[in-house]
Symmetry: C2
Subunit: 771 residues, 2 copies
C-alpha cells in the first residue's frame, strides 16, 4: 500500500458542515472546488460573491451539465480513426458576482476580517459572514447565503446582507453576469486567460434594463446555445444607476443607502437554460425570460424552502452514519452530497469525472459512471441511476457509428470519454483501447436491474444496449484456432492504465463473460426481445459459446489470475528506489517505461474479483490481492475504495479501513493534490461502496441481498438505507450485531452471513454480527 498520505485539510471537521475560517490564498482554489454548489444541471464553484483579486490563484467556473463546446484535436502524427474533436463541458456566465464599493473602493477579501464560511451539507446552502474595513476606516458587516436550487434546475440564488458598522451613507453595488472570466487564473502564470470562457462562447444577444439582464451565447463547435439571466430583489431605497454592457459582461449598478447598524438585505436570482435543437434565438430568449419571471415572482425564502425540502428527503434516504470518527463521517456525507450535486437527472446528461465542481478532464463522462456511481445510485436514488443509463441509451447511435469507424460491421462501441457521444480521447492507448467501457455499461444495466427489477427499462433501453455491445464483443474477439477455440480479446487496455494494449486482459474478458451471461438471462426472461431486435437463435448461441469458452488467463505457478497474457512475465518495478516525489508515476516516467514493468496504477484483476462476486473463490481473491496490491501505486483515485472492499472481503479490515479513509476524504484532504480542478466523483461513490460492499459485505444477486458484515475496530457502528425493488431497507451494524429493518415495501427475505432473514415492514430483525 503506497497511498498518498500527505494531506491538506483546508476546511474544518464537522459532521454536517464544511466550515471555513480565515483566508489562505494558497488554499483558495481548493476551497473553490470543495465549496462548489450544483444541482445536476448547473454547477458553480465556491468563489466569493465579489471579485477575487487578480494575484490570487483561482479558477472561476459555472457549468451546465450535458452542454459542451467542441474543438478539433490536433495531433503531431494523426491516423485513421483517431478522435477528431474534443468536447468541453460548457462554462457559462458567472452570475454570482455582487461587487460592493465604498467611496469607489472595492470590497474584496483583501480587507476582510473574521472571515467565515460554512457549506451546510444538510441543506445545500453556502453561508458566509465577514467584516470589511475601507482604507478610510468605514466598516461593513457582510453576510450571504447561496444555493443552486434542487427544486428548480435553472436557478442559482444569493442573499446578501450588508450592515454599516460605523457610518451611514450610500455605497455602490455592481451585480454582474460575466461571460468573460478567465477559466483558470494562476499567479505568475503567463497563460492567464488562456482558457477564458470567451474561447468557447460567442455572443448572440444581450438585453438589459433597470430590472434584469439576459445573454444568449452560441457554444463553439456545437449546436448548443445557452441563455443566462439575472434579476434582483432589492430594498425600496436601492436605486438603479446604470447598466454597463461589454461583449462578454453585463453589469447592473445600484446605489444602496445604509443606515448605521441596520442590515440591508437583497437577493439576486440567476437562471440558466440551453437549447440544443429546434428553438431559435427568440424562442430561447422567451424561455429564459419566462424562467426569470417565474423565479422573480417567488420569494427567496420560499425557493430556499423548496430546495431544503429536497435535501431533507435526500438525507432521509441516503444518509450513512458512521460511529466514532467525525472526519470520516464528514467525508462520507460530503461524498454523497457531491454525488447528488453532480448527477444529471434529465436523461440527456450524465455525471462528469469531476462532477460540476471544476474544469478537470474537461467535464467528460467516463466508466466512472457505470462501475462506481450507478451501483450506488441504483441502491439509493434509483431514479437518478435510470437517468444516467437513459443518457447512455440516447448516445447508442453515436456508439454504433464509432463501432463502424473502428471497422466493426455490427455493434456499438461507447467512447472512453465524451460529453456529446463522440469519442474524445486523444490518446487511444489509454482511451479507445479501453473497450471495457462497453462491459461497464452492461454491468451498470445489470446493477440497476438487480436493484430495481425495472423491466420497463430493460425492454425499452437496457436490452438494446446489451445487444449492441455484445455484438461488438463478438466481432472484436475471436475463437482462437491455435488455442482450442477459446474466446480471446486482443489489443485492449484494462482499467489499469499503467499497462496498455494487451491481449486477454483478465478484467475485460471476465466482465464480457458476465455481460454475455446476463444478456442471455435477459433474453431468456423476456422472450419478446429476440423478435423485437431480430436476434437469431444462432446469435444467442454465439453469445453462449463465447461466454462458455471465454479465456481467463491464469498463472499456475503463482496460482493467481493473470492480469493479461504478458503482465506476469514483465520486469518488476523497482519500488525500493522510487522516491516519493516520483509519484504519480505518470508525471515522471514515459508510458513505455511504465508499460514494460509490473506496476499498476489501480485495481484491475482486484477490481474484477470484487465485481465478479462469488464467481471467484475467496481463496483465489486473497491470493490475487496479495500479489497485485503491493504492485499497485494507487495513483488513480479509483483504486483505494476497491482495495478497501477487497481487503474487507479477505478479512483484513484494518487495511480495508485505511483504504476507506483515503477514499472517504480524498478531496477534503486533497490526497492527490489536484482537487483544485474538481472533486473525484468515482472515488466519492466508491467510498460508499467501501462501506456497503466492504464493511456490510452487501452483494446484490439475482435471488436477493446478501450481507456479510465485518466492521473494522476503528469503525464500530455503521447505519445506512437501501432502496431495493421498491422497498426501503435500513441496515444498522455494530461490532456484535446486525439489524435489518424494512421501512417500506413488500416483505423481503435477505441473507445475513448466508442465513435467510425474513423482514416485514416494522420492527428490525437483529442478527449476531459474527460471520
Amino acid at each position: 500500500m503506497t497511498l498518498h498520505a500527505d494531506l491538506t485539510r483546508a476546511l474544518g471537521v464537522a459532521e454536517w458542515q464544511l466550515p471555513d475560517s480565515g483566508f489562505t490564498p494558497e488554499l483558495h482554489m481548493l476551497k473553490e472546488t470543495l465549496l462548489s454548489l450544483g444541482n445536476g444541471y448547473i454547477g458553480s464553484r465556491g468563489s466569493f460573491d465579489e471579485a477575487t483579486p487578480a494575484d490570487i490563484t483561482h479558477c472561476e467556473g459555472t457549468y451546465l451539465n450535458g452542454v459542451y463546446s467542441s474543438e478539433p484535436i490536433t495531433y503531431g502524427e494523426s491516423a485513421y480513426g483517431f478522435a477528431r474533436n474534443n468536447h468541453k463541458m460548457l462554462q457559462v456566465a458567472n452570475g454570482k458576482v455582487l461587487q460592493l464599493s465604498v467611496d469607489d473602493e472595492a470590497v474584496t477579501i483583501t480587507g476582510a476580517t473574521e472571515h467565515q464560511r460554512q457549506l451546510d451539507l444538510k441543506t445545500g446552502v453556502l453561508h458566509r459572514q465577514w467584516q470589511w474595513q475601507s482604507r478610510q476606516g468605514k466598516q461593513l458587516q457582510l453576510q450571504s447565503r447561496r444555493f443552486i436550487s434542487q427544486a428548480n434546475p435553472h436557478l442559482l440564488a444569493i442573499e446578501l446582507s450588508v450592515t454599516a458598522l460605523n457610518f451611514s451613507g450610500d455605497i455602490q453595488l455592481d451585480s454582474l453576469l460575466d461571460a468573460g472570466y478567465p477559466g483558470f487564473q494562476k499567479k505568475d502564470d503567463p497563460r492567464v486567460g488562456v482558457m477564458s470562457i470567451a474561447d468557447s462562447l460567442s455572443l448572440r444577444q444581450q438585453h438589459c434594463d433597470a430590472k434584469q439582464a439576459t445573454m444568449l451565447h452560441q457554444a463553439h463547435g456545437s449546436e448548443s446555445r445557452v441563455a443566462a439571466a439575472m434579476s434582483h430583489q432589492l430594498p425600496a431605497n436601492a436605486k438603479w444607476l446604470a447598466n454597463h454592457c461589454t461583449e462578454h459582461c453585463i453589469s447592473q449598478q445600484f446605489q444602496l443607502s445604509l443606515t448605521k447598524g441596520e442590515p440591508l438585505v437583497l437577493h439576486k436570482l440567476v437562471v440558466y437554460c440551453h437549447n440544443n435543437e429546434q428553438a431559435d434565438d427568440s424562442q430561447l430568449q422567451q424561455h429564459i425570460n419566462m424562467l426569470l419571471q417565474q423565479v422573480c415572482a417567488q420569494s427567496f425564502a420560499s425557493q430556499l424552502t423548496a430546495h431544503q425540502q429536497y435535501w431533507a428527503g435526500f438525507w432521509q434516504q441516503a444518509d450513512v452514519k458512521i460511529g466514532g470518527d467525525s472526519a470520516l463521517q464528514q467525508g462520507i456525507r460530503f461524498n454523497l452530497f457531491s454525488l447528488a450535486q453532480a448527477a444529471g437527472r434529465n436523461g440527456v446528461s450524465n455525471i462528469a469525472a469531476k462532477g460540476l465542481s471544476g474544469p478537470g478532464y474537461d467535464g467528460h463522462y467516463f466508466w466512472d459512471t457505470e462501475i462506481y456511481v450507478v451501483p450506488v445510485l441504483s441502491l439509493t436514488q434509483p431514479d437518478t441511476a435510470r437517468q444516467l443509463l437513459t443518457h447512455r441509451f440516447s448516445q447508442l447511435n453515436a456508439a454504433r457509428q464509432r463501432a463502424r469507424q473502428m471497422s466493426h460491421p455490427r455493434g456499438a462501441l461507447y467512447p472512453w470519454r465524451t460529453i456529446g457521444g463522440e469519442e474524445c480521447s486523444a490518446y487511444f492507448p489509454a482511451g479507445t483501447a479501453q473497450y471495457h467501457i462497453n462491459a461497464a455499461i452492461a454491468y451498470a444495466i445489470r446493477s440497476y436491474y438487480l436493484a430495481t427489477a425495472d423491466s420497463h427499462f430493460i425492454r425499452e433501453m437496457g436490452a438494446e444496449m446489451l445487444l449492441e455491445t455484445n455484438r461488438l464483443w463478438l466481432d472484436l474477439g475471436f475463437f482462437n484456432p491455435r488455442q482450442q477455440q477459446r474466446f480471446e480479446i486482443h489489443q485492449v487496455t484494462g482499467p489499469d492504465e499503467y499497462t496498455a494494449i494487451v491481449n486477454n486482459n483478465f478484467y475485460t474478458n471476465a466482465m464480457v463473460q458476465l455481460q454475455l451471461e446476463f444478456s442471455l438471462l435477459i433474453f431468456a426472461d423476456y422472450p419478446e426481445l429476440a423478435a423485437k431486435f431480430e436476434v437469431s437463435n444462432s446469435e444467442l448461441q454465439s453469445w453462449q459459446r463465447a461466454a462458455d469458452n471465454m479465456y481467463l488467463p491464469y498463472d499456475h505457478e503463482l496460482a493467481i489470475q493473470a492480469q493479461d497474457d504478458s503482465f506476469l512475465n514483465k520486469k518488476p518495478w523497482d519500488f525500493a528506489t522510487t522516491p516519493a516525489d516520483k509519484y504519480p508515476l505518470l508525471l515522471h516516467f514515459h508510458p513505455l517505461v511504465i508499460y514494460r514493468h509490473q506496476v499498476l496504477k489501480q485495481a484491475d484483476t482486484v477490481l474484477a474479483n470484487v465485481l465478479l462476486d462469488n464467481r471467484i473463490s475467496p481463496a483465489q481473491k486473497t491470493r490475487d490481492l496479495a500479489y497485485y496490491e503491493p504492485l499497485t501505486t494507487h495513483d488513480s483515485s479509483l483504486s483505494g475504495c476497491i482495495h478497501s472492499i477487497a481487503f474487507a472481503e479477505a478479512g483484513n479490515t484494518e487495511q480495508a479501513h485505511a483504504f476507506f479513509g483515503n477514499s472517504a476524504r480524498m478531496d477534503l484532504d486533497n490526497y492527490h493534490g489536484n482537487t483544485g480542478v474538481g472533486v473525484h466523483i468515482a472515488c466519492m461513490a466508491g467510498s460508499w461502496l467501501s462501506l456497503v460492499m466492504g464493511f456490510a459485505g452487501l452483494r446484490v444477486r439475482k435471488d436477493g441481498l446478501y450481507f456479510q458484515p465485518r466492521l473494522p475496530q476503528a469503525l464500530p457502528e455503521l447505519e445506512f438505507r437501501l432502496c431495493y425493488q421498491n422497498r426501503i431497507l435500513q441496515v444498522s451494524l455494530s461490532a456484535d450485531q446486525a439489524s435489518y429493518q424494512l421501512i417500506s415495501g413488500k416483505p423481503l427475505t435477505l441473507y445475513h452471513a448466508n442465513q435467510a432473514v425474513s423482514l416485514d415492514v416494522g420492527a428490525p430483525v437483529k442478527c449476531s454480527a459474527g460471520v
Copy 2:
C-alpha cells in the same frame, strides 16, 4: 505478394536519362520530385525556371540538409517524455526563377509548345527546351541547363538561352530570390500557402544592388540562420532596370535586347550557406558575399565541368549494368543518382527519408540511413558512409539525454526521427518504441567496418556509439527470473509498424545480440578502448551474458521464428475481403484494428533473417518467408527490396525479380502514389541491395566477401563495382558465368559459392555460375 501494381510512368525510359516531353498538369508535382537536383547540401525541386501558374498543383521547395526549423508538437493528451518539438528540413529561398515577359505578358508553361526536358543522370544536369508564343504572336525559343554543383556545395547554377524567332526587340527578365513561396499549392485546396516557407523563416537582412542580391533569415525555433545570394552573368546589351524588394522576395529586373534568330545566353548563379553557431549576422553576410564572389569569378562552363567531373568519377565507381531491361536499368541508375544527390557529406547532416527532393516526413532522418543506405555506401562511397555515421556520432550527446528522459541511468537512445538530434516522433508507438534504431546504428557501424576496416573510425567514434547503445540495451532488457534468466526486451515496436509495443520482437532481440557480439569483438580487437571508456570486465561480461542468453522467440508448432511473444496468437487478417482500395491499411483502419491482427506492413522477421546472414539456416529462412510474406501488405516502400533478397536466397528468383522491379522503379512509376512529396530513399538503396545481396548473393563477413550468384531469367547480366578495404573490385555476372576483377588494391581472396577465389590486380577470374 500484394505489391502495388498501378503505375504512373510520367517520364520516358532511357538508360541514362529521365526524358520528359509535353506538359500534363496532373503529373507536374510528381515530375518536380523526379527532376529535382541536389548535392547533399542543397536540394531543389524540378520546378520550372519561370513561375508555375497558380491553378496547377505544385510544390515548390529548395532545402538545406541538416538545417531545420523547429516548432512545438501539440498533443490532445500529452504525457511525460513525449517528444516536445518537431524539426522541419529548412526550406530556403527559391533562386531558380528567371521570369521573362514579352510586352508585359509573362512567359509561362501555358503558352508552351514542343516542351522537352531531360534530366541527364550521367552529368547531373537538367536540360529544357521549348517554344513559347505571346498572345500577339511573338515567338521565343527557350533553352536552359540547371545544376546544383557537386564540386561546390553552395552553388545552384542556371544557363538560359533565349532566341526570338519572329521578331527583334526588348523583353524583360525578372530574376527572383523568393523566400515567400507556398510550400505546397494544390488546386481546389483551401490550405493554399499554409505551409509557406514564410512560416519557418524570419527575415534578418536584405541587400541588393544592380549586380547582386542577398537575404539572411533566421529559422524559427532553432539557432540556424541561412543566407542566400544571387548574381548574373549577362550579355553586354542587357540593362539593369530596377530591384523590387518585399519582406520575402527580391526581384532584379533587366531589359534584354533580342535580335531575331540570335540566341541570347545568360547565367544565374545562386549560393546558399548557413551558420548554426558562433557567427553573427555580419559574419554570415561576409561569408555569403565571399561565396558569391567566388562563383562569379568563374565561368559557368568551368563550374559545370567541375560538376560533371564529379559525376564521371561517381559513375565509374558506382554504375550498375543490368542486361536486357532498359526500364530497370534506368531505375537502378536513377536510384543511385538520387542517393548521391541526397546524402550529406559534411558530417553534420544525414540522408533524409525523401532525400532533398520534397517535403515528405519533414526531411527527417530515420533508420533508413543505417539499414538501407550505409550498407550500400560502405561498398560504393565509403567516405560518404563515414560522413553519415559521423553525423550520428555528433548527436550522441543528444541520444544520451534522450536516454535519461526515458529513465535510463546510462546509455544512449537515438531518436526514431530527427534532424537536429532531438526525438521528433509525435506518435511513440511507431516512434520512440522503435528502439531498434539503436541496433540499426550498430549494424551500420558493423557494415561500414567490415567493408572498410577503418580502425580510426572505430577508435574515434564507432566504439563509443556501440558502448552507449549497448548500455541502453542492458538497461532496457532484463534477465527474466521466470524464464531461466533469459534476456528479454519488452514493450518495443519492431520494423513492422502494423504491430506495436510488443515483448521480445524477434528482429530487435536478434539485432541486439548481433550488436553485442560485434561490440565484444571490437573491444577484444582494440583492448585500449576499455581503458579509454572505463569499461569494466564485468560490464563486458554482462554484454556476453545478454548475448548468450538472448531470447529469440520460436514457434515449434509452425517451426518458424515468432515475430514476437504474441504475434502468432493473433487473429489472421481477412485479406480475402479487403478490397484493393483499402490499401495502404494505415489510411483505412484504426491502429488498434491493425495491431490485433496477423498482418504486416513490411519485412520484420524476414528482414532479420536477411541481415543475420548465416546465423539463421537457409531452411529456417525459407519457412519464415513462406509464413510471413503472405501476411505482408508491403505498404511500406522498405519491404520489397528485402523480400527480393529473401526470395533470391530461397532460390525463388522469379519472385525476387518482381520485388526488385518494384523497388527499382518505386518512384519512376510512382507505385505508392506519393512520390510527389519526395522519393523513397531507403527503397532506392534497397534496390541496389536486391541486386548485390540478392542476385549476386554478396555477404560481407569478417573473413571476406562471399558471393552466391543467382540471376533470374529476366535479368541475364549484372555488372557492378565494389569498394572493399581500399580495393576496387568489379563483378560481372551472367547466366552461366561470374567474373571477378580486382581493379586496384592489394591482392584479395573472396568466396564464390563458398569456394575461395584469389585475385590480383589485372585480368578477371571467371567462375562457373552454377551454385
